[in-house]
Symmetry: C2
């Protein structure tokens, strides 16, 4: 299969020609979502070929029983599974009695898909010859409304080209669906009520165990010759309901089925009112009609693009890549609900249970801070504050006491749901990423209020964890942290992972610093927090002792911090010297061999140099980059962006661009041969960082925005906007110059290449 079939285009993802082998990949790539729900680009009509059916509702999951060979104390009871939701898009199509099925036609031509990212819709068109000889042209347009995030709309248009014919549409709802990753054929949904009212239908269903109540609904009408027709009630089972529309059409004349549908859920409505909520959405949709809704959709997306677009001139594929990333991030999370988060596959697949990883804090937060207003980032932070009690409970299960908090590696509701001991119990650096996000939020937005209101409690829980997690080594005369897994998951259960130790030290010092600031400036909050956490001075002194006495593995010979104790005992063969046939090593090598190797899955020591770059000189960065990069295999989608940013900082733009390419079109070009399973949503934020922080060199230094713009030689120019403390700055970088444009009322000073520059609203400053 040639994965490189997506047409280059500035604003759209386009596939031309039908290839059965590409269906599952395209289902991922053409996925649509609106932050509250999303779905793979499955066909509405029947398809008996290979397909991966997926429709997902944000926040609706199933706690699948954790099944491992050998249970270990402290494992979570369940693994939160992303759930395939009832199907509302289905429309069976019959032509003179023969069912339309692209896997079963005499001829298919002009097959085309387009995902229009600018306007937020997905269109599919094709011409087929059926076995009964009818030549049929179809065009299907579908979108999930941003304005009404419980609503989707489909327009399914058919022409019979070579004859008159009878067209039957059977739009249906189906809750008899399964998960593809359900190895055990478990039933996740319990359908309680199927009902019809006029031309509308509803299936009420709740998830097993979690009891999320949902109503899947639809309403359809048929348009022919400028008139609208309603259908008749058709098949009904415990898990399915449908209408039937029959229409005799003349050769060449268009007939369209319009279908509105979607989900109402008990997160947003009272549980008895899901049907009335659905009716209320359908009333609005009916009033606006398909084209009215589509117009609104275009406007809503234009607002998003207005702020978040990155324009690349001179490289259509790069342009398409970065827009695809921005588009998908916005399809996944729009920052309207602090109970939701950004799952690694968004609404495009089932892989990776749970929705929240440290990806959110380490990769996605900067994107949302800069392209939305600060309420969105604050919601992401609040999500973790709301889970603090669960994080304390989680740490308690592992034997920690006194309010120590360990945030889960993977979660839906604050509870840990990952079940590999080397990750669940050991990949504890995630705790540090959550603390760093608090710092990063304040640094970027200037909004300190989050810290006294919520953040400080989180920081105290995390510092307590680090303090208890280390022990004093008589042998080393230092505090050590044993048995951890760093960001480089190709090492497990190592001692003194430098990155984790560094984060722990930083967390404690930062917490102590904030305790002082809150004590001085927010005495009410301080009193409340000390009262609640029972934090004592003695405890703070002990923290300090740990932070000051922590051990950091260092090689005198190489003058670099070592990823962990004993790293240099490995056989230090560089990645470049490995045979190509042995890569990616996670597909070619046994886990045993990977673990013993020096190969780094994703930035580990360098992740620390990324987060804390101000604490190291450029020479130190260069030395560590040159030491670790040659052993890095970048087999995590989260890896190349950090290296890209650092290469750019070191002035190695060719290398930076190479890393950038690996991240920006990871899914479009299917580098990892797994796009069928869904897209890599969270790593898409890394692509944005590669441009803004990498090429643009954007940082916050001493409360000021700072840039050191560079541009890949392959590009003519690129531009982006950032919202910094409620002021919008547009940056346009070309090989010759960089221009800045400020929106707002007041002037503002920034730094460019180290020099202070004053931006005046409405005036373009070119440097």
């Amino acid at each position: 299969m040639n994965q490189d079939y997506i047409k280059a285009d500035n604003w759209s993802i386009i596939e031309e020609g039908f290839d059965k082998a590409r269906v599952k990949s395209s289902e991922s790539l053409f996925s649509i979502g609106n932050g509250a729900m999303g779905q793979r680009a499955n066909f509405e009509e029947a398809y008996t070929g290979k397909t991966f059916q997926g429709s997902y509702i944000a926040g609706v999951y199933y706690p699948d029983k954790t099944r491992v060979g050998w249970w270990k104390n402290g494992y979570p009871e369940y693994f939160a599974k992303v759930l395939n939701a009832p199907n509302w898009i289905g429309i069976q199509v019959f032509l003179d009695g023969e069912e339309l099925d692209l896997a079963n036609c005499s001829k298919i031509s002009n097959f085309r898909r387009e995902l229009n990212m600018k306007e937020g819709w997905y269109k599919r068109s094709f011409t087929v010859t059926l076995k009964n000889g009818l030549e049929v042209k179809a065009e299907i347009l579908r979108f999930l409304s941003l304005d009404f995030d419980e609503l989707g709309a489909i327009s399914y248009t058919i022409q019979v080209l070579n004859s008159d014919g009878e067209i039957t549409f059977i739009p249906y709802l189906d809750s008899g669906i399964t998960n593809e990753d359900s190895n055990w054929d478990d039933k996740f949904w319990n359908s309680t009520h199927v009902s019809i009212s006029e031309n509308r239908a509803f299936i009420e269903a709740h998830t097993m165990k979690t009891k999320f109540e949902t109503c899947t609904y639809m309403q359809s009408y048929l348009e022919y010759n400028g008139k609208q027709f309603t259908g008749e009630k058709y098949m009904d089972t415990d898990t399915l309901t449908s209408f039937r529309f029959k229409q005799h059409v003349k050769a060449g004349e268009k007939v369209s089925l319009i279908k509105f549908g979607g989900y109402t859920v008990d997160r947003n409505h009272k549980s008895g009112e899901l049907i009335s909520a659905a009716n209320s959405v359908l009333d609005k949709a009916t009033k606006l009609g398909f084209s009215g809704l589509l117009e609104q959709q275009k406007i809503a997306w234009s607002h998003i693009w207005e702020m978040s677009d990155i324009v690349v001139e001179g490289d259509v594929k790069a342009q398409q890549g970065i827009r695809f990333n921005i588009f998908q991030l916005n399809q996944t999370y729009l920052g309207t609900d602090s109970r939701l988060n950004i799952g690694p596959k968004g609404f495009t697949g089932e892989k990776y249970g749970g929705s929240t990883y440290w990806d959110t804090e380490a990769y996605c937060l900067p994107f949302y801070m800069a392209t939305k207003d600060d309420t969105v980032a604050r919601k992401l932070l609040k999500y973790r504050y709301n889970h603090l009690d669960k994080a304390i409970e989680n740490a308690k299960k592992l034997g920690f006491t006194n309010g120590a908090a360990l945030y889960p590696m993977v979660t839906m509701n604050g509870e840990e749901c990952h079940n590999e001991w080397e990750i669940t119990f050991e990949e504890i650096h995630r705790n540090g990423a959550i603390a760093f996000a608090i710092y990063n939020y304040y640094r970027y937005t200037g909004d300190y209020s989050y810290i006294p209101e919520m953040g400080l409690e989180v920081l105290i829980g995390i510092s307590r964890f680090w303090h208890q997690r280390v022990n004093f080594s008589e042998e080393k005369g230092k505090y050590v942290m044993l048995g951890v897994t760093g960001p480089n998951e190709y090492e497990n259960n190592v001692n003194n992972n430098w990155y984790t130790n560094y984060l722990a030290k930083w967390c404690i010092n930062y917490t102590l610093e904030q305790l002082g600031k809150v004590k001085d400036g927010y005495s009410d909050d301080y009193g409340r927090i000390i009262g609640k956490t029972k934090l004592t001075n003695r405890e703070c002194e002990q923290w300090k002792e740990v932070a000051d006495g922590l051990y950091f593995p260092f090689s005198e010979k190489h003058e670099v911090y070592l990823q962990q104790d004993g790293f240099l005992d490995k056989e230090m063969i560089k990645v470049a010297d490995l045979p190509k046939s042995e890569r990616p090593i996670n597909q070619k090598w046994s886990w045993d061999r990977i673990l013993r190797s020096p190969y780094i899955k994703q930035a580990d020591v360098l992740q620390g140099f990324y987060l804390f770059e101000d604490n190291f000189t450029k020479e130190e960065l260069e030395r560590h980059f040159d030491f670790y990069e040659p052993f890095t295999v970048h087999e995590s989608s989260l890896s190349p962006c950090v290296h890209s940013i650092q290469a750019a900082k070191l002035g190695r733009m060719e290398q930076a661009y190479t890393f950038y390419l690996r991240t920006s079109r990871l899914d479009l070009d299917d580098y990892n041969k797994e796009v069928e399973e869904g897209l890599h949503i969270t790593s898409m934020a890394g692509t944005w960082m590669s441009i803004v922080e990498g090429f643009g060199g954007m940082r916050v230094l001493d409360d000021k925005l700072s840039f050191i713009p560079q541009i890949p030689t392959q590009w003519k120019s690129y531009s982006f906007k950032v919202n910094f403390r409620n002021r919008i700055i547009k940056v346009v970088v070309s090989s010759k110059e960089t221009s800045f444009e400020l929106t707002g009322a007041k002037e503002m000073s920034i730094r460019v290449g180290g020099e202070r520059v004053t931006l005046i609203p409405g005036e373009t400053v070119t440097i």
Copy 2:
């Protein structure tokens, strides 16, 4: 529940009084087996209380699909599950129409179980009052024949004490059984044919996937007033067949149902001939009758005891404990078939898939070498030789080449079937145990022929593995072995586990030595082996370089070898200083905490000092014992015996005896609160070693048997026999003296306390 309910008795395991809460524990403790099959002590009649049904056929397993959260390359495809086999023991009993069910009676008295280890039978008796008022006395005797190892026999005798009554027996076969550990309700058995012929019935069934074909069969007759009666055909389904016997009996008169039954399997017969094989067994059984079979059974067990009994005087519980261990080992494996091995739970439960662990080589082999003739030990060695190709294949899956062999951690047919990376890929010291067993076999039996015939090929495969498994550390200037798990499974993925490194070095040197010996003395074999393995001189030189250059972690401060790199970085709190409430740590602590702790699950460095004691001085042993013992929690049943032997060697008999007690009555007194799940069969061999090697101080030194006898102050005397190179020596140790008695034709010299002693056949030498 008070587990301490087993009556002390020299030769029997006895329970008195009925307690529902003890049923599952007793089902384990009263298990019977004959090496080819075995079963838990389930009731024959209906029992609606809590029970764990288990009947097992040696070598019949199911390859359950490995299910883990996250697959890792190199994992085996399946986990071999010990399979609950069709039930042949079932007999429904009705009295005046009311079914006998001990969970559902008005009154139970005189309930008694006895497992007579001397004669190899299990008896249960009780008196109950039924709800219909009948007072019924029952006595059930059951055994699995040693002489006909496909046959079991039951005599079920009933008296109605207070009235005449109608007694109905319904003996049945049932293949509609499940595994208790089947989380997924999988069906393991496929019943193909249920048939009846005269008073016999047969269910042919095969296991799913593995297609082991079996025939479960029975034949019954009723005895009353000295006459025999046959039954009538009764219920029949796809998975069940039964007969019915009705008899009106006078008050106080005995009526007995005699049932013969068991399994014939395609390991021993052609697949189409299982029924005729069953008929042939039944013909023999019928001829001998129940009492004839029982007489033979007593004789067969007397032969086993004649050689393997250990007599302890002055301590009934110790006597009962050691006999229970010897009895269970013989119930599990009798050395008649080199395709079978010694499962850690024998025929007493399902836990631990697979049948073969390194327990066989490290713990069981010495017992079988000394208490059987050398053909039995040779069968155990041959088992591994037969699996060499699979071990090579297994290593290949992990990336090793050139015929390197890694024996599986757990297996049924030579394929690995354990699925935790830290065990499957890392607990590789098992390879060393298999090589050591070859050395140990020759050392003990003097039979060198195994090495040129088979053993050397195994040694070459294993040495190749070690050679490839290490790498050269530029940092240390030594070869290192990264990412291993030692015998102490409370450490995972450590570097330079001293025990593993030591074994690796020893394996290579021993293999090189044997290559020389075989070349000199067995040139035909040598030629064949070199031809087959393509071993070169260059390769041997590389091995030698590795063996000579291996790194061994050592603490100058403590003058001890370290269990692994970084061991001293831990918080070194001794076990004695832990609160009692936190033990056993594997039940009270998270895995995370266990891994970071210094606590040792079972002998690790000390296991090396046990295997290679001649390479260390007594002072070194003492120093290492005193360093590691205080951190050892003995949470493996395989741990205390090694410490017991070493404490005895150091002259610390009180401590040795304490360790001994933990092992000898582990199951009888249910130290680990898990006897319900089955018995710890393989560790029972450790108990035997504790007495013979520990107290008796038996070793082989320079081709001679050597003893340094000691005796616990709690005992009056103890005695055991060993078969050393086909000569039987009986040793009797009391606090005053030790006597030796040799059976055979020739005299023989041994060492006692370092002095040479000559034994003359028929004469008792007392020292």
